[in-house]
Symmetry: C3
Subunit: 207 residues, 3 copies
Protein backbone atom coordinates (compact mmCIF):
# COMPACT_ATOMS: atom_id res chain seq x y z
CA UNK A 1 0.00 0.00 0.00
CA UNK A 2 2.89 2.35 0.80
CA UNK A 3 4.37 1.87 -2.66
CA UNK A 4 1.02 2.53 -4.28
CA UNK A 5 0.45 5.72 -2.27
CA UNK A 6 3.95 6.91 -3.07
CA UNK A 7 3.52 6.47 -6.82
CA UNK A 8 0.05 7.98 -6.61
CA UNK A 9 1.26 11.04 -4.67
CA UNK A 10 4.10 11.72 -7.08
CA UNK A 11 1.89 11.28 -10.13
CA UNK A 12 -0.80 13.64 -8.78
CA UNK A 13 1.69 16.34 -7.79
CA UNK A 14 3.43 16.03 -11.18
CA UNK A 15 0.08 16.52 -12.92
CA UNK A 16 -0.65 19.60 -10.79
CA UNK A 17 2.78 20.96 -11.79
CA UNK A 18 2.21 20.24 -15.47
CA UNK A 19 -1.18 21.96 -15.35
CA UNK A 20 0.27 25.09 -13.65
CA UNK A 21 3.08 25.26 -16.20
CA UNK A 22 0.63 24.72 -19.05
CA UNK A 23 -1.20 27.91 -18.14
CA UNK A 24 2.05 29.86 -18.50
CA UNK A 25 2.93 29.09 -22.14
CA UNK A 26 5.98 27.06 -21.09
CA UNK A 27 7.35 24.64 -23.67
CA UNK A 28 7.39 20.87 -23.23
CA UNK A 29 10.68 20.88 -21.39
CA UNK A 30 9.57 23.67 -19.04
CA UNK A 31 6.43 21.68 -18.24
CA UNK A 32 8.53 18.62 -17.37
CA UNK A 33 10.81 20.61 -15.08
CA UNK A 34 7.94 22.30 -13.25
CA UNK A 35 6.22 18.90 -12.88
CA UNK A 36 9.38 17.35 -11.39
CA UNK A 37 9.87 20.32 -9.05
CA UNK A 38 6.25 20.06 -7.92
CA UNK A 39 6.41 16.33 -7.16
CA UNK A 40 9.99 16.02 -5.86
CA UNK A 41 10.80 19.53 -4.56
CA UNK A 42 9.36 18.99 -1.08
CA UNK A 43 11.23 15.72 -0.51
CA UNK A 44 14.46 17.17 -1.91
CA UNK A 45 14.36 20.23 0.36
CA UNK A 46 13.60 17.98 3.36
CA UNK A 47 16.52 15.66 2.56
CA UNK A 48 18.93 18.58 2.07
CA UNK A 49 17.94 20.18 5.38
CA UNK A 50 18.05 16.89 7.29
CA UNK A 51 21.35 15.98 5.56
CA UNK A 52 19.67 12.69 4.54
CA UNK A 53 21.80 11.86 1.51
CA UNK A 54 21.34 10.52 -1.10
CA UNK A 55 18.20 12.57 -1.74
CA UNK A 56 15.04 10.61 -2.43
CA UNK A 57 15.17 10.56 -6.25
CA UNK A 58 18.89 9.74 -6.37
CA UNK A 59 18.35 6.83 -3.98
CA UNK A 60 15.49 5.61 -6.18
CA UNK A 61 15.42 6.98 -9.72
CA UNK A 62 12.02 5.45 -10.42
CA UNK A 63 10.56 8.58 -8.78
CA UNK A 64 11.94 10.61 -11.67
CA UNK A 65 10.36 8.34 -14.25
CA UNK A 66 6.98 8.35 -12.53
CA UNK A 67 7.03 12.14 -12.42
CA UNK A 68 8.00 12.43 -16.11
CA UNK A 69 5.41 9.86 -17.20
CA UNK A 70 2.66 11.60 -15.23
CA UNK A 71 3.61 14.96 -16.77
CA UNK A 72 3.52 13.47 -20.27
CA UNK A 73 0.19 11.79 -19.51
CA UNK A 74 -1.18 15.23 -18.61
CA UNK A 75 -0.87 16.26 -22.28
CA UNK A 76 -3.20 13.44 -23.27
CA UNK A 77 -5.57 13.87 -20.32
CA UNK A 78 -6.01 17.57 -21.05
CA UNK A 79 -6.68 17.08 -24.77
CA UNK A 80 -9.30 14.48 -23.86
CA UNK A 81 -10.86 16.82 -21.24
CA UNK A 82 -10.31 14.01 -18.76
CA UNK A 83 -9.30 16.12 -15.77
CA UNK A 84 -12.38 17.31 -13.92
CA UNK A 85 -11.48 19.91 -11.29
CA UNK A 86 -12.75 18.18 -8.17
CA UNK A 87 -11.25 14.79 -9.10
CA UNK A 88 -7.83 16.38 -9.34
CA UNK A 89 -8.28 18.23 -6.05
CA UNK A 90 -9.31 15.04 -4.26
CA UNK A 91 -6.29 13.20 -5.69
CA UNK A 92 -4.09 16.10 -4.62
CA UNK A 93 -5.53 15.81 -1.09
CA UNK A 94 -4.57 12.12 -1.02
CA UNK A 95 -1.07 13.03 -2.23
CA UNK A 96 -0.79 15.72 0.47
CA UNK A 97 -1.91 13.27 3.18
CA UNK A 98 0.64 10.67 2.13
CA UNK A 99 3.59 13.02 1.53
CA UNK A 100 3.05 14.68 4.91
CA UNK A 101 3.02 11.32 6.65
CA UNK A 102 6.10 10.08 4.75
CA UNK A 103 8.05 13.24 5.64
CA UNK A 104 7.07 13.01 9.31
CA UNK A 105 8.07 9.35 9.45
CA UNK A 106 11.44 9.99 7.77
CA UNK A 107 12.34 12.72 10.29
CA UNK A 108 11.17 10.49 13.13
CA UNK A 109 13.33 7.61 11.87
CA UNK A 110 16.34 9.98 11.86
CA UNK A 111 15.67 10.70 15.54
CA UNK A 112 14.51 14.32 15.33
CA UNK A 113 12.38 16.10 17.90
CA UNK A 114 8.58 16.32 17.61
CA UNK A 115 8.51 19.90 16.33
CA UNK A 116 11.10 19.15 13.63
CA UNK A 117 9.16 16.02 12.55
CA UNK A 118 5.99 18.09 12.26
CA UNK A 119 7.77 20.77 10.25
CA UNK A 120 9.44 18.22 7.96
CA UNK A 121 6.09 16.54 7.27
CA UNK A 122 4.64 19.92 6.40
CA UNK A 123 7.64 20.77 4.22
CA UNK A 124 7.45 17.45 2.33
CA UNK A 125 3.73 18.00 1.73
CA UNK A 126 3.69 21.63 0.65
CA UNK A 127 7.18 22.80 -0.48
CA UNK A 128 6.83 21.24 -3.94
CA UNK A 129 3.71 23.32 -4.57
CA UNK A 130 5.41 26.45 -3.23
CA UNK A 131 8.44 25.98 -5.52
CA UNK A 132 6.10 25.25 -8.47
CA UNK A 133 4.31 28.56 -7.93
CA UNK A 134 7.56 30.49 -7.46
CA UNK A 135 8.89 29.20 -10.82
CA UNK A 136 5.56 30.03 -12.47
CA UNK A 137 5.88 33.54 -11.00
CA UNK A 138 2.78 33.33 -8.79
CA UNK A 139 2.33 33.93 -5.07
CA UNK A 140 2.17 30.37 -3.70
CA UNK A 141 -1.41 29.14 -3.89
CA UNK A 142 -1.31 27.32 -0.58
CA UNK A 143 -0.76 30.60 1.24
CA UNK A 144 -4.17 31.96 0.33
CA UNK A 145 -6.25 28.89 -0.33
CA UNK A 146 -8.76 26.79 1.56
CA UNK A 147 -7.24 24.87 4.49
CA UNK A 148 -4.17 23.23 2.97
CA UNK A 149 -1.17 23.53 5.24
CA UNK A 150 -3.47 23.38 8.23
CA UNK A 151 -4.63 19.94 7.04
CA UNK A 152 -1.00 18.78 6.80
CA UNK A 153 -0.23 20.08 10.30
CA UNK A 154 -3.37 18.46 11.76
CA UNK A 155 -2.49 15.08 10.23
CA UNK A 156 1.11 15.32 11.43
CA UNK A 157 -0.03 16.21 14.96
CA UNK A 158 -2.42 13.23 15.13
CA UNK A 159 0.23 10.84 13.86
CA UNK A 160 2.90 12.14 16.24
CA UNK A 161 0.53 12.08 19.23
CA UNK A 162 -0.51 8.49 18.54
CA UNK A 163 3.15 7.56 18.01
CA UNK A 164 4.03 9.20 21.32
CA UNK A 165 1.42 7.07 23.14
CA UNK A 166 2.86 4.02 21.38
CA UNK A 167 -0.18 3.25 19.32
CA UNK A 168 0.52 0.71 16.57
CA UNK A 169 2.60 2.46 13.87
CA UNK A 170 0.37 1.46 10.96
CA UNK A 171 -2.83 2.50 12.73
CA UNK A 172 -1.24 5.84 13.67
CA UNK A 173 -0.17 6.33 10.03
CA UNK A 174 -3.66 5.62 8.70
CA UNK A 175 -5.34 7.90 11.25
CA UNK A 176 -2.81 10.68 10.52
CA UNK A 177 -3.46 10.45 6.78
CA UNK A 178 -7.22 10.31 7.33
CA UNK A 179 -7.05 13.49 9.42
CA UNK A 180 -5.19 15.40 6.71
CA UNK A 181 -7.64 14.10 4.11
CA UNK A 182 -10.76 15.04 6.08
CA UNK A 183 -9.50 18.56 6.81
CA UNK A 184 -8.46 19.13 3.20
CA UNK A 185 -11.69 17.76 1.74
CA UNK A 186 -13.68 19.94 4.14
CA UNK A 187 -11.67 22.89 2.82
CA UNK A 188 -12.38 21.95 -0.80
CA UNK A 189 -16.09 21.13 -0.53
CA UNK A 190 -17.17 23.72 2.02
CA UNK A 191 -14.73 26.42 0.81
CA UNK A 192 -13.32 27.01 4.31
CA UNK A 193 -10.27 29.29 4.38
CA UNK A 194 -8.08 30.72 7.08
CA UNK A 195 -8.63 34.45 7.61
CA UNK A 196 -6.34 36.60 5.47
CA UNK A 197 -3.91 38.80 7.28
CA UNK A 198 -4.09 42.18 5.59
CA UNK A 199 -2.19 45.33 6.40
CA UNK A 200 -2.96 47.21 3.24
CA UNK A 201 -4.48 50.67 3.13
CA UNK A 202 -7.70 49.13 1.76
CA UNK A 203 -8.21 47.30 4.98
CA UNK A 204 -7.45 50.28 7.13
CA UNK A 205 -9.90 52.41 5.22
CA UNK A 206 -12.56 49.77 5.91
CA UNK A 207 -12.00 49.88 9.63
CA UNK B 1 24.38 39.84 25.15
CA UNK B 2 24.82 37.40 22.25
CA UNK B 3 21.66 35.55 23.19
CA UNK B 4 19.71 38.77 23.43
CA UNK B 5 20.93 39.98 20.02
CA UNK B 6 20.11 36.61 18.47
CA UNK B 7 16.52 36.61 19.75
CA UNK B 8 16.19 40.27 18.81
CA UNK B 9 17.46 39.71 15.26
CA UNK B 10 15.15 36.76 14.66
CA UNK B 11 12.14 38.59 16.06
CA UNK B 12 12.75 41.70 13.95
CA UNK B 13 13.29 39.73 10.73
CA UNK B 14 10.18 37.64 11.45
CA UNK B 15 8.16 40.84 11.88
CA UNK B 16 9.50 42.19 8.57
CA UNK B 17 8.47 38.92 6.91
CA UNK B 18 4.99 39.01 8.47
CA UNK B 19 4.51 42.61 7.33
CA UNK B 20 5.55 41.80 3.73
CA UNK B 21 3.23 38.80 3.64
CA UNK B 22 0.43 40.84 5.16
CA UNK B 23 0.48 43.19 2.19
CA UNK B 24 -0.09 40.23 -0.14
CA UNK B 25 -3.39 38.89 1.22
CA UNK B 26 -1.74 35.71 2.46
CA UNK B 27 -3.63 33.78 5.11
CA UNK B 28 -2.37 33.25 8.64
CA UNK B 29 -0.36 30.18 7.72
CA UNK B 30 1.25 31.89 4.73
CA UNK B 31 2.26 34.78 6.96
CA UNK B 32 3.92 32.37 9.42
CA UNK B 33 5.87 30.62 6.65
CA UNK B 34 7.08 33.88 5.11
CA UNK B 35 8.07 35.13 8.57
CA UNK B 36 10.07 31.95 9.25
CA UNK B 37 11.73 32.10 5.84
CA UNK B 38 12.66 35.75 6.43
CA UNK B 39 14.21 35.14 9.84
CA UNK B 40 15.79 31.71 9.31
CA UNK B 41 16.35 31.52 5.52
CA UNK B 42 19.75 33.21 5.54
CA UNK B 43 21.14 30.97 8.28
CA UNK B 44 19.67 27.86 6.66
CA UNK B 45 21.22 28.60 3.27
CA UNK B 46 24.57 29.32 4.93
CA UNK B 47 24.48 26.05 6.87
CA UNK B 48 23.53 24.04 3.77
CA UNK B 49 26.33 25.57 1.69
CA UNK B 50 28.92 25.19 4.47
CA UNK B 51 27.65 21.65 5.16
CA UNK B 52 27.28 22.72 8.82
CA UNK B 53 24.65 20.22 9.90
CA UNK B 54 22.37 20.22 11.81
CA UNK B 55 21.09 23.53 10.47
CA UNK B 56 20.64 26.30 13.00
CA UNK B 57 16.93 25.79 13.83
CA UNK B 58 17.24 21.99 14.06
CA UNK B 59 20.18 22.36 16.46
CA UNK B 60 18.11 24.78 18.55
CA UNK B 61 14.36 24.70 17.96
CA UNK B 62 13.77 27.74 20.15
CA UNK B 63 14.60 29.80 17.00
CA UNK B 64 11.43 28.44 15.41
CA UNK B 65 9.31 29.41 18.38
CA UNK B 66 10.77 32.91 18.58
CA UNK B 67 10.04 33.42 14.88
CA UNK B 68 6.47 32.15 15.21
CA UNK B 69 5.80 34.22 18.33
CA UNK B 70 7.16 37.36 16.68
CA UNK B 71 4.99 36.76 13.61
CA UNK B 72 1.90 36.30 15.80
CA UNK B 73 2.80 39.39 17.80
CA UNK B 74 2.82 41.33 14.52
CA UNK B 75 -0.95 40.81 14.25
CA UNK B 76 -1.43 42.61 17.55
CA UNK B 77 1.18 45.29 16.91
CA UNK B 78 -0.37 46.18 13.55
CA UNK B 79 -3.93 46.42 14.93
CA UNK B 80 -2.63 48.71 17.67
CA UNK B 81 -0.69 50.83 15.14
CA UNK B 82 2.40 50.11 17.22
CA UNK B 83 4.87 49.74 14.39
CA UNK B 84 6.22 53.14 13.36
CA UNK B 85 8.24 52.88 10.16
CA UNK B 86 11.58 54.19 11.37
CA UNK B 87 11.53 52.14 14.59
CA UNK B 88 11.16 48.98 12.55
CA UNK B 89 13.93 50.01 10.14
CA UNK B 90 16.29 50.74 13.01
CA UNK B 91 15.51 47.36 14.60
CA UNK B 92 16.06 45.72 11.22
CA UNK B 93 19.45 47.44 10.99
CA UNK B 94 20.41 45.98 14.40
CA UNK B 95 19.28 42.54 13.19
CA UNK B 96 21.32 42.91 10.00
CA UNK B 97 24.41 43.93 11.98
CA UNK B 98 24.13 40.95 14.30
CA UNK B 99 23.22 38.32 11.68
CA UNK B 100 26.11 39.43 9.46
CA UNK B 101 28.53 39.13 12.35
CA UNK B 102 27.16 35.76 13.45
CA UNK B 103 27.46 34.36 9.91
CA UNK B 104 31.01 35.64 9.51
CA UNK B 105 32.03 34.17 12.86
CA UNK B 106 30.48 30.78 12.06
CA UNK B 107 32.37 30.52 8.75
CA UNK B 108 35.55 31.64 10.51
CA UNK B 109 35.10 28.98 13.21
CA UNK B 110 34.77 26.36 10.45
CA UNK B 111 38.15 27.47 9.09
CA UNK B 112 37.06 29.10 5.82
CA UNK B 113 39.05 31.70 3.92
CA UNK B 114 38.47 35.44 4.38
CA UNK B 115 36.42 35.89 1.19
CA UNK B 116 34.13 32.96 2.07
CA UNK B 117 33.65 34.33 5.62
CA UNK B 118 32.70 37.71 4.19
CA UNK B 119 30.26 36.14 1.73
CA UNK B 120 28.71 33.92 4.40
CA UNK B 121 28.20 36.92 6.70
CA UNK B 122 26.50 38.74 3.85
CA UNK B 123 24.38 35.67 3.00
CA UNK B 124 23.28 35.23 6.62
CA UNK B 125 22.32 38.88 6.83
CA UNK B 126 20.47 39.33 3.55
CA UNK B 127 19.35 35.96 2.09
CA UNK B 128 16.30 35.75 4.38
CA UNK B 129 15.02 39.03 3.00
CA UNK B 130 15.75 37.94 -0.57
CA UNK B 131 13.82 34.67 -0.13
CA UNK B 132 10.96 36.57 1.56
CA UNK B 133 10.64 38.86 -1.47
CA UNK B 134 10.87 35.97 -3.95
CA UNK B 135 7.99 34.16 -2.22
CA UNK B 136 5.99 37.39 -2.14
CA UNK B 137 6.65 37.72 -5.89
CA UNK B 138 8.65 40.95 -5.64
CA UNK B 139 12.10 41.85 -6.92
CA UNK B 140 14.21 41.66 -3.74
CA UNK B 141 14.06 44.99 -1.94
CA UNK B 142 17.68 44.95 -0.88
CA UNK B 143 18.77 45.05 -4.51
CA UNK B 144 17.35 48.51 -5.09
CA UNK B 145 17.27 50.06 -1.64
CA UNK B 146 19.40 52.43 0.40
CA UNK B 147 22.78 50.94 1.39
CA UNK B 148 21.85 47.55 2.78
CA UNK B 149 24.20 44.86 1.56
CA UNK B 150 26.98 47.42 1.43
CA UNK B 151 26.51 47.94 5.17
CA UNK B 152 26.78 44.19 5.76
CA UNK B 153 29.95 43.95 3.65
CA UNK B 154 31.51 46.95 5.42
CA UNK B 155 30.83 45.46 8.86
CA UNK B 156 32.18 42.07 7.80
CA UNK B 157 35.34 43.66 6.40
CA UNK B 158 36.00 45.63 9.60
CA UNK B 159 35.47 42.54 11.76
CA UNK B 160 37.68 40.33 9.57
CA UNK B 161 40.44 42.95 9.39
CA UNK B 162 40.50 43.41 13.17
CA UNK B 163 40.43 39.64 13.59
CA UNK B 164 43.36 39.32 11.17
CA UNK B 165 45.39 41.75 13.26
CA UNK B 166 44.47 39.72 16.35
CA UNK B 167 42.43 42.42 18.01
CA UNK B 168 40.38 41.11 20.92
CA UNK B 169 37.49 39.04 19.46
CA UNK B 170 34.74 40.82 21.39
CA UNK B 171 36.02 44.26 20.52
CA UNK B 172 36.29 43.25 16.85
CA UNK B 173 32.72 41.93 16.95
CA UNK B 174 31.35 45.12 18.48
CA UNK B 175 33.21 47.35 16.01
CA UNK B 176 32.05 45.19 13.09
CA UNK B 177 28.41 45.42 14.18
CA UNK B 178 28.75 49.16 14.83
CA UNK B 179 30.10 49.65 11.29
CA UNK B 180 27.14 47.82 9.71
CA UNK B 181 24.75 49.78 11.91
CA UNK B 182 26.26 53.20 11.10
CA UNK B 183 26.28 52.52 7.33
CA UNK B 184 22.72 51.25 7.37
CA UNK B 185 21.37 54.08 9.52
CA UNK B 186 23.10 56.57 7.23
CA UNK B 187 21.29 54.88 4.33
CA UNK B 188 17.93 55.11 6.13
CA UNK B 189 18.14 58.67 7.47
CA UNK B 190 19.98 60.34 4.59
CA UNK B 191 18.37 58.21 1.86
CA UNK B 192 21.73 57.25 0.33
CA UNK B 193 21.50 54.57 -2.37
CA UNK B 194 23.95 52.88 -4.66
CA UNK B 195 23.60 54.00 -8.26
CA UNK B 196 21.19 51.83 -10.26
CA UNK B 197 22.64 49.92 -13.16
CA UNK B 198 20.24 50.46 -16.01
CA UNK B 199 20.41 49.14 -19.53
CA UNK B 200 16.88 49.91 -20.51
CA UNK B 201 15.85 51.98 -23.51
CA UNK B 202 14.59 54.70 -21.14
CA UNK B 203 18.07 55.32 -19.92
CA UNK B 204 19.58 55.29 -23.37
CA UNK B 205 17.05 57.81 -24.56
CA UNK B 206 18.07 60.07 -21.65
CA UNK B 207 21.74 59.95 -22.59
CA UNK C 1 41.65 23.92 -22.38
CA UNK C 2 39.42 22.86 -19.48
CA UNK C 3 40.53 25.78 -17.39
CA UNK C 4 39.93 28.19 -20.25
CA UNK C 5 36.43 26.84 -20.91
CA UNK C 6 35.60 27.01 -17.22
CA UNK C 7 36.61 30.66 -16.90
CA UNK C 8 34.86 31.41 -20.19
CA UNK C 9 31.61 29.76 -19.11
CA UNK C 10 31.52 31.56 -15.78
CA UNK C 11 32.29 34.92 -17.35
CA UNK C 12 29.60 34.53 -20.03
CA UNK C 13 26.93 33.44 -17.54
CA UNK C 14 27.89 36.26 -15.17
CA UNK C 15 27.48 38.75 -18.04
CA UNK C 16 24.05 37.29 -18.86
CA UNK C 17 23.08 37.69 -15.20
CA UNK C 18 24.35 41.27 -15.06
CA UNK C 19 22.42 42.14 -18.22
CA UNK C 20 19.17 40.64 -16.85
CA UNK C 21 19.58 42.51 -13.57
CA UNK C 22 20.40 45.71 -15.40
CA UNK C 23 17.00 45.69 -17.06
CA UNK C 24 15.34 45.59 -13.62
CA UNK C 25 16.74 48.80 -12.08
CA UNK C 26 18.77 46.84 -9.54
CA UNK C 27 21.64 48.70 -7.91
CA UNK C 28 25.30 47.75 -8.35
CA UNK C 29 25.20 45.22 -5.52
CA UNK C 30 22.03 43.59 -6.83
CA UNK C 31 23.64 43.22 -10.24
CA UNK C 32 26.65 41.49 -8.69
CA UNK C 33 24.48 39.06 -6.73
CA UNK C 34 22.34 38.17 -9.75
CA UNK C 35 25.50 37.70 -11.83
CA UNK C 36 27.00 35.36 -9.22
CA UNK C 37 23.75 33.41 -8.93
CA UNK C 38 23.59 33.07 -12.73
CA UNK C 39 27.14 31.78 -13.08
CA UNK C 40 27.48 29.69 -9.90
CA UNK C 41 23.87 28.76 -9.03
CA UNK C 42 23.75 25.65 -11.20
CA UNK C 43 26.99 24.23 -9.83
CA UNK C 44 26.00 25.07 -6.25
CA UNK C 45 22.64 23.33 -6.52
CA UNK C 46 24.31 20.29 -8.10
CA UNK C 47 26.92 20.10 -5.32
CA UNK C 48 24.28 20.46 -2.58
CA UNK C 49 22.11 17.71 -4.08
CA UNK C 50 25.07 15.38 -4.69
CA UNK C 51 26.44 16.18 -1.21
CA UNK C 52 29.73 17.06 -2.96
CA UNK C 53 31.17 19.40 -0.34
CA UNK C 54 32.88 21.83 -0.38
CA UNK C 55 30.76 23.44 -3.09
CA UNK C 56 32.59 24.52 -6.22
CA UNK C 57 33.24 28.17 -5.31
CA UNK C 58 34.33 27.37 -1.74
CA UNK C 59 36.78 24.78 -3.05
CA UNK C 60 38.14 27.34 -5.50
CA UNK C 61 37.35 30.96 -4.69
CA UNK C 62 38.76 32.18 -8.01
CA UNK C 63 35.30 31.34 -9.46
CA UNK C 64 33.85 34.12 -7.31
CA UNK C 65 36.39 36.64 -8.54
CA UNK C 66 35.90 35.71 -12.20
CA UNK C 67 32.14 36.15 -11.80
CA UNK C 68 32.50 39.53 -10.07
CA UNK C 69 35.05 40.77 -12.62
CA UNK C 70 32.84 39.71 -15.53
CA UNK C 71 29.83 41.48 -13.97
CA UNK C 72 31.86 44.66 -13.47
CA UNK C 73 33.17 44.41 -17.03
CA UNK C 74 29.56 44.35 -18.20
CA UNK C 75 29.15 47.95 -17.04
CA UNK C 76 31.94 49.02 -19.39
CA UNK C 77 30.89 46.77 -22.27
CA UNK C 78 27.33 48.09 -22.16
CA UNK C 79 28.35 51.75 -22.09
CA UNK C 80 30.60 51.09 -25.08
CA UNK C 81 27.80 49.23 -26.91
CA UNK C 82 30.21 46.31 -27.18
CA UNK C 83 27.71 43.52 -26.61
CA UNK C 84 26.04 42.58 -29.88
CA UNK C 85 23.13 40.21 -29.30
CA UNK C 86 24.24 37.23 -31.34
CA UNK C 87 27.81 37.31 -30.01
CA UNK C 88 26.49 37.01 -26.49
CA UNK C 89 24.14 34.20 -27.43
CA UNK C 90 26.93 32.26 -29.12
CA UNK C 91 29.16 32.71 -26.06
CA UNK C 92 26.28 31.60 -23.85
CA UNK C 93 25.90 28.48 -26.01
CA UNK C 94 29.58 27.67 -25.46
CA UNK C 95 29.09 28.18 -21.71
CA UNK C 96 26.05 25.91 -21.73
CA UNK C 97 27.96 23.20 -23.61
CA UNK C 98 30.85 23.27 -21.18
CA UNK C 99 28.82 23.54 -17.95
CA UNK C 100 26.61 20.65 -19.01
CA UNK C 101 29.64 18.49 -19.72
CA UNK C 102 31.36 19.48 -16.46
CA UNK C 103 28.24 18.64 -14.43
CA UNK C 104 27.81 15.29 -16.16
CA UNK C 105 31.47 14.39 -15.57
CA UNK C 106 31.32 15.39 -11.90
CA UNK C 107 28.27 13.16 -11.26
CA UNK C 108 29.96 10.34 -13.21
CA UNK C 109 33.14 10.68 -11.14
CA UNK C 110 31.01 10.36 -7.98
CA UNK C 111 29.65 7.05 -9.31
CA UNK C 112 26.06 8.04 -10.04
CA UNK C 113 23.76 6.27 -12.48
CA UNK C 114 23.34 7.41 -16.09
CA UNK C 115 20.00 9.17 -15.54
CA UNK C 116 21.36 11.11 -12.53
CA UNK C 117 24.48 12.10 -14.52
CA UNK C 118 22.28 13.38 -17.33
CA UNK C 119 20.07 15.32 -14.92
CA UNK C 120 23.06 16.80 -13.07
CA UNK C 121 24.59 17.95 -16.36
CA UNK C 122 21.31 19.60 -17.26
CA UNK C 123 21.02 21.16 -13.80
CA UNK C 124 24.57 22.55 -13.93
CA UNK C 125 23.89 24.03 -17.36
CA UNK C 126 20.50 25.59 -16.81
CA UNK C 127 19.75 26.08 -13.08
CA UNK C 128 21.82 29.27 -12.86
CA UNK C 129 19.66 30.85 -15.55
CA UNK C 130 16.49 29.64 -13.86
CA UNK C 131 17.51 31.13 -10.50
CA UNK C 132 18.55 34.38 -12.23
CA UNK C 133 15.08 34.71 -13.76
CA UNK C 134 13.30 33.83 -10.49
CA UNK C 135 15.19 36.59 -8.64
CA UNK C 136 14.43 39.03 -11.46
CA UNK C 137 10.76 38.06 -11.11
CA UNK C 138 10.41 36.57 -14.59
CA UNK C 139 9.20 33.18 -15.74
CA UNK C 140 12.47 31.37 -16.54
CA UNK C 141 13.47 32.17 -20.10
CA UNK C 142 14.74 28.70 -20.87
CA UNK C 143 11.25 27.30 -20.37
CA UNK C 144 9.85 29.13 -23.38
CA UNK C 145 12.86 29.74 -25.58
CA UNK C 146 14.49 28.18 -28.62
CA UNK C 147 15.97 24.74 -27.91
CA UNK C 148 18.03 25.32 -24.80
CA UNK C 149 17.58 22.52 -22.30
CA UNK C 150 17.09 20.11 -25.19
CA UNK C 151 20.58 21.03 -26.40
CA UNK C 152 22.00 20.28 -22.96
CA UNK C 153 20.21 16.94 -22.79
CA UNK C 154 21.37 15.98 -26.30
CA UNK C 155 25.00 16.78 -25.46
CA UNK C 156 24.80 14.87 -22.19
CA UNK C 157 23.30 11.84 -23.93
CA UNK C 158 26.03 11.77 -26.59
CA UNK C 159 28.79 12.07 -23.98
CA UNK C 160 27.28 9.37 -21.74
CA UNK C 161 26.71 7.00 -24.68
CA UNK C 162 30.28 7.37 -25.89
CA UNK C 163 31.53 6.95 -22.32
CA UNK C 164 29.43 3.81 -21.98
CA UNK C 165 31.06 2.33 -25.09
CA UNK C 166 34.45 3.27 -23.62
CA UNK C 167 35.35 5.81 -26.25
CA UNK C 168 38.35 7.92 -25.24
CA UNK C 169 37.18 10.34 -22.49
CA UNK C 170 38.48 13.48 -24.16
CA UNK C 171 36.97 12.63 -27.52
CA UNK C 172 33.62 11.86 -25.84
CA UNK C 173 33.79 15.20 -24.00
CA UNK C 174 34.49 17.15 -27.19
CA UNK C 175 31.72 15.39 -29.14
CA UNK C 176 29.27 15.95 -26.26
CA UNK C 177 30.04 19.66 -26.14
CA UNK C 178 29.86 19.93 -29.93
CA UNK C 179 26.40 18.33 -29.89
CA UNK C 180 25.06 20.82 -27.33
CA UNK C 181 26.61 23.66 -29.29
CA UNK C 182 25.18 22.58 -32.65
CA UNK C 183 21.67 22.12 -31.24
CA UNK C 184 21.75 25.44 -29.44
CA UNK C 185 23.12 27.37 -32.40
CA UNK C 186 20.48 25.79 -34.61
CA UNK C 187 17.90 27.06 -32.11
CA UNK C 188 19.36 30.57 -32.15
CA UNK C 189 19.89 31.00 -35.88
CA UNK C 190 16.85 29.16 -37.21
CA UNK C 191 14.57 30.19 -34.32
CA UNK C 192 13.51 26.61 -33.62
CA UNK C 193 11.44 26.19 -30.45
CA UNK C 194 9.73 23.31 -28.75
CA UNK C 195 5.96 23.47 -29.02
CA UNK C 196 4.32 25.34 -26.15
CA UNK C 197 2.03 23.38 -23.94
CA UNK C 198 -1.02 25.52 -23.46
CA UNK C 199 -4.14 24.81 -21.45
CA UNK C 200 -5.52 28.32 -21.41
CA UNK C 201 -8.99 29.26 -22.53
CA UNK C 202 -7.48 31.15 -25.46
CA UNK C 203 -6.17 27.95 -26.90
CA UNK C 204 -9.40 26.09 -26.38
CA UNK C 205 -11.34 28.81 -28.11
CA UNK C 206 -8.98 28.45 -31.07
CA UNK C 207 -9.58 24.73 -31.39
Amino acid sequence: MYFFLDVFGIAVFAISGALSAGHKKLDVFGVLVVALVACLGGGTLRDLILDAHPVIWIANTSYLFIGILAALATFVLVRMHWIPKHTLEVCDAIGLAFFTLAGTQKALALGHSTEICLLMGLMTGVAGGVLRDIICNEIPLIFHKEIYATAAIAGGLIFLSLHHFQVNEQLAAILGMATTLVFRLAGIFFGISLPAFLFSEDERSNE
